[in-house]
């Protein structure tokens, strides 16, 4: 990602800012990292980062950082134009010939293979995106 701000915004949207837990008690445990909003964003993330679909979610404002200024608004503009380049040539060279479900997923028994194949049948790139857009991939 060309702008480091983009990474922060994604972390904010998922409620998981690196090295910055919500309070001194640390990260909440169990299923609290996942709700319908964070789940859907996670599923859409591979398509967003590949430039197939736009990112439409906006993080909540962080008043502790902004101190009443417009810092967040600027960050949001950056964020909407997030410049992400995936080096697909390199990706395909390295893993393109391998058994993709096996190397991308830890658990694949629940995976509805037909659905994934029909979404990812076009080429190797779309198969990678299809596999990364599954609930199974969230457990990697």
């Amino acid at each position: 990602m060309a702008q480091p701000e983009s990474q922060l915004a994604f972390q904010n949207l998922l409620g998981q800012t690196l090295l910055n837990p919500p309070n001194v008690a640390g990260w909440p445990s169990g299923t609290s990292w996942i709700d319908t909003s964070t789940m859907m964003l996670r599923l859409k993330l591979p398509q967003i980062l590949s430039g197939i679909r736009p990112l439409e979610d906006t993080p909540k404002e962080n008043d502790d950082l902004n101190m009443g200024s417009n810092a967040d608004k600027l960050q949001k503009q950056f964020f909407k134009n997030q410049m992400v380049t995936v080096d697909w040539a390199e990706v395909l060279k390295n893993i393109g010939t391998l058994d993709l479900p096996k190397i991308l997923l830890q658990k694949e028994r629940s995976l509805p293979k037909a659905a994934v194949e029909s979404f990812g049948k076009k080429d190797c790139k779309s198969e990678i995106i299809a596999l990364m857009s599954t609930p199974e991939y969230q457990l990697c």
């Binding site: 949207l13 409620g15 919500p22 309070n23 001194v24 008690a25 909440p28 445990s29 299923t31 609290s32 996942i34 709700d35 319908t36 909003s37 964070t38 789940m39 859907m40 599923l43 439409e56 979610d57 906006t58 993080p59 909540k60 404002e61 962080n62 008043d63 502790d64 902004n66 101190m67 009443g68 200024s69 658990k107 028994r109 629940s110 995976l111 509805p112 037909a114 659905a115 994934v116 029909s118 979404f119 299809a130 857009s133 599954t134 609930p135 199974e136 969230q138 457990l139």
Partner: protein, 395 residues
Amino acid sequence: MLIKRREFLKTGALATASLMLPNFLGAMLREDAVDSDNKILVVLQLSGGNDGLNTIVPVKNDIYFRERQGIAIKNALPLTDEAGIHPALSYFRELYDNGELAVLNNVGYPKPDKSHFRSMDIWHSASDSDEYWDTGWLGRYLDEACHNCNRPTQALEVDDMLSLAMKGRQQKAFAFKSPQRLFQMSREHYFQSLADQHHHDDETVEYLYQTMGSALNNADYIFEKSKAKATAKTYPDTGLGKELKTVASLILSDINTKVYYLSIGSFDTHINQNQKQAQLFKDINEAVEAFVNDIKANGKFEDVMLMTFSEFGRRVSQNASHGTDHGTANQMFFISGGLRKKGLLNQLPDLQNLNEGDLIYKEDFRRVYATILKKWLRADDAKILGRKNGFYDFI
């Protein structure tokens, strides 16, 4: 008219059932049997720490004018001899005159925290300031009231992200930014096909599949409800205006939602406060006016309560940048046609006895939550809040 297969099956099943069952059993079969006491809570969060002293203005208080020479509100609209309201909140004065507004002053909690995030956490979770809870008061209300709901739409947040207040231990509310976004989500064919065709394996994967399925199904369901009886009234073309229009449309439909959650901000007015606060108040004033008129015209105002809060108030003295810095206690607004006590419920803040320049809270916000939970939503407040807090009598 196009009827979806799913809805057709539902209607068919009901028609058959109601032929064979007495009426009252038929009613119980309905997916969202609405109880007669169907009270609805709309929470409006003023993010960033709204300056309460320039909202409800102590118009006769010398200390107020002395400490705020550059930003004191001199043209407040009179409420009582002692108190006025910010001129941009003219509709709130009307509500006050009609007995449809109650204001509780000096609300806070012991040992207040002045970080936005932390203080908001405390307001959302309803913990003490030295405790860290990872569930919210409305989320725990869902755990309590909705442990066997087949549609977890009892609490909805109008936002891209779900707030801590809306996350319970077992249940979580559903967040959506707009009906259009719901529509898009309900048409995610790939995710829908994953949800339909996946195999049951271990618990963790299944939980993720359930969360995904719930998102897709709810999106479809709420979108249908939001247009079933969409309001035809005109709302201001602002963020809050559109959001309250969506909420009004849902209230008019037969969806089972009891709690709606919205936020507006930022009220963090360290610099040039008067301009910023007046603009936000103008947006709120216009949106709330459209909303209340709409709800009233549909005869629901006695069953709807709009409540506002902010994570803290601001210091009594202004700063050097014509703004104010983070403070402590603040007022809360309650707007409804069903209030038992109206107007100013208690004394204005005491500006003489301060704690290092900050107001000293007199009312605990958890007592407000207890009152709302018990008397408005008919829930077990002590269980949800983890202790007994007593009640106010404005509901």
